[in-house]
């Protein structure tokens, strides 16, 4: 091994790395919010009584999940180029639809795991179906699915690196730029993978702050997943 390590160029490029990190966090956070909204709507539809709703939800999750994320991003960036969306929005759209389908699956299983008696009791006590879902089912389901959500969110953060391919200047993109200027290939990529590691770990711990999600039952379900 004749490779000479030199970490100084990485330290000098810390400004670029910080900028990239900010963009990564922004892309991930916005996509996260959208994918949770999509996930709860579609996941709710997937557990609805109506056959049409369930069919539509299934169609959505199966198509969105089985198309590679990279293709999702290219579709918004190239196929819908006439919309003239900025690259950032294309990345967010792709990530949200792709991860939203995964969140929907998790939400569907979470709703299924809440006892049937709960919804019957809620309806019997005079709540409307929507109220029962919002006040009784979703809060319980959220606790059950928190660990799976945590791993989905950390995946989303990692997946956001693909935004670099459509020229969103996030962490991976900046790493490429720094590598191009300094040729400290190994140092750059090791540094950013460690940054991702920290980011992912922090994000998954954050999700587990949801009250009750650390309970035994939830932990057991996580091990099953």
């Amino acid at each position: 091994m004749t490779y000479q390590f030199d970490w100084t160029p990485i330290w000098e490029a810390r400004g670029l790395i910080a900028e990239g990190l900010l963009v990564t966090v922004a892309v991930s956070a916005v996509s996260l919010a959208f994918s949770v909204v999509i996930g709860f709507i579609v996941g709710g539809a997937a557990s609805a009584g109506s056959r049409t709703m369930r069919g539509l939800a299934l169609l959505f999750t199966e198509t969105m999940r089985n198309i590679p994320l990279l293709i999702h991003m290219y579709i918004w960036y190239m196929a819908f180029a006439f919309l003239r969306l900025p690259a950032f929005s294309c990345a967010v759209l792709g990530l949200s639809l792709y991860s939203g389908a995964y969140v929907a699956e998790v939400v569907r299983t979470g709703i299924g795991a809440v006892g049937r008696g709960q919804i019957q009791a809620a309806l019997a006590s005079g709540l409307t179906r929507l109220q029962a879902m919002r006040l009784i089912i979703y809060p319980q389901a959220l606790r059950i699915i928190a660990p799976s959500l945590a791993s989905l969110f950390s995946q989303l953060i990692k997946d956001s690196s693909l935004a670099s391919v459509i020229a969103v200047a996030e962490l991976t993109y900046q790493a490429g730029a720094i590598d191009g200027q300094t040729f400290r290939t190994f140092e750059v990529y090791i540094t950013i993978s460690l940054i991702y590691l920290v980011l992912v770990t922090a994000a998954s711990q954050l999700v587990l702050l949801i009250p009750g999600s650390r309970s035994e039952a939830a932990a057991g379900r996580f091990a099953d997943a």
Partner: protein, 216 residues
């Protein structure tokens, strides 16, 4: 089929073939790696366990794209060897999927009931024999669904190899698009191909699981 696809069909099929071979190699080698690392973590071999833990946590915290950059650019620079984009992609995919599979195998191994292990040891089997004949067969059947989830994920992720210049299905499609400029048709066709391949694989996984599921 749209004209632009028909005209470039041989090239796109070559791309699909690369996607499939890339997936098969990565799945085969990655599963072997995952099984070994998962077992090391399960039996807690002294030094190896720590090494396995570092490997698994590092990969699981790193985006696939960065792993590919490391196997394509960084490792050859570090160790001074030459590689091709295809080989770097296989290496990256194997390392990537291996870490996730190792965790799946480990949780499958831990789910085997301890009484079975005790019974095996009591009948005079060695620890290795117990692992080989009692624990592993059950664990593998138990983790089949998560294995196939990872395989489907990997097939989608092979599209990322196009970024380091492998002309698999996505790479081939992008090249065709650069010449023909019909992004809607080309991307939609590619998406459908991935959709079909991934759905077939999940169906196969479900069928296998139905056939071999551990009844508890």
């Amino acid at each position: 089929m749209p004209d632009v696809i028909l005209k470039n069909l041989p090239f796109l099929l070559q791309g699909l073939w690369l996607t499939l071979t890339l997936s098969v190699w990565s799945i085969a080698l990655g599963t072997a790696l995952g099984l070994v690392v998962g077992t090391v973590r399960f039996v807690r071999l002294p030094v190896l366990n720590a090494a396995a833990l570092v490997y698994v946590e590092f990969i699981r915290g790193t985006p696939l794209l960065v792993v590919l950059f490391i196997t394509y650019f960084a490792l050859p620079a570090l160790f001074g060897y030459h590689t091709t984009a295809y080989r770097a992609a296989v290496l990256g995919f194997v390392l990537f999927i291996g870490a996730y599979l190792a965790e799946d195998f480990r949780s499958g191994l831990r789910a085997v009931r301890p009484t079975l292990i005790q019974a095996g040891l009591a009948t005079g089997l060695t620890r290795w024999q117990v692992l080989r004949f009692i624990i592993l067969p059950q664990a593998i059947r138990r983790v089949l669904p998560s294995l196939f989830n990872q395989y489907v994920r990997l097939i989608k992720f092979t599209s990322v190899a196009s970024v380091i210049g492998v002309t698999e299905l996505t790479g081939a499609g992008l090249l065709v698009n650069a010449r023909e400029f019909q992004p809607v048709t080309i991307l939609a066709s590619i998406a459908v191909v991935y959709l079909v391949v991934c759905m077939l694989l999940s169906l196969a996984g479900r069928a296998l699981y139905a056939r071999f599921a551990v009844r508890t």
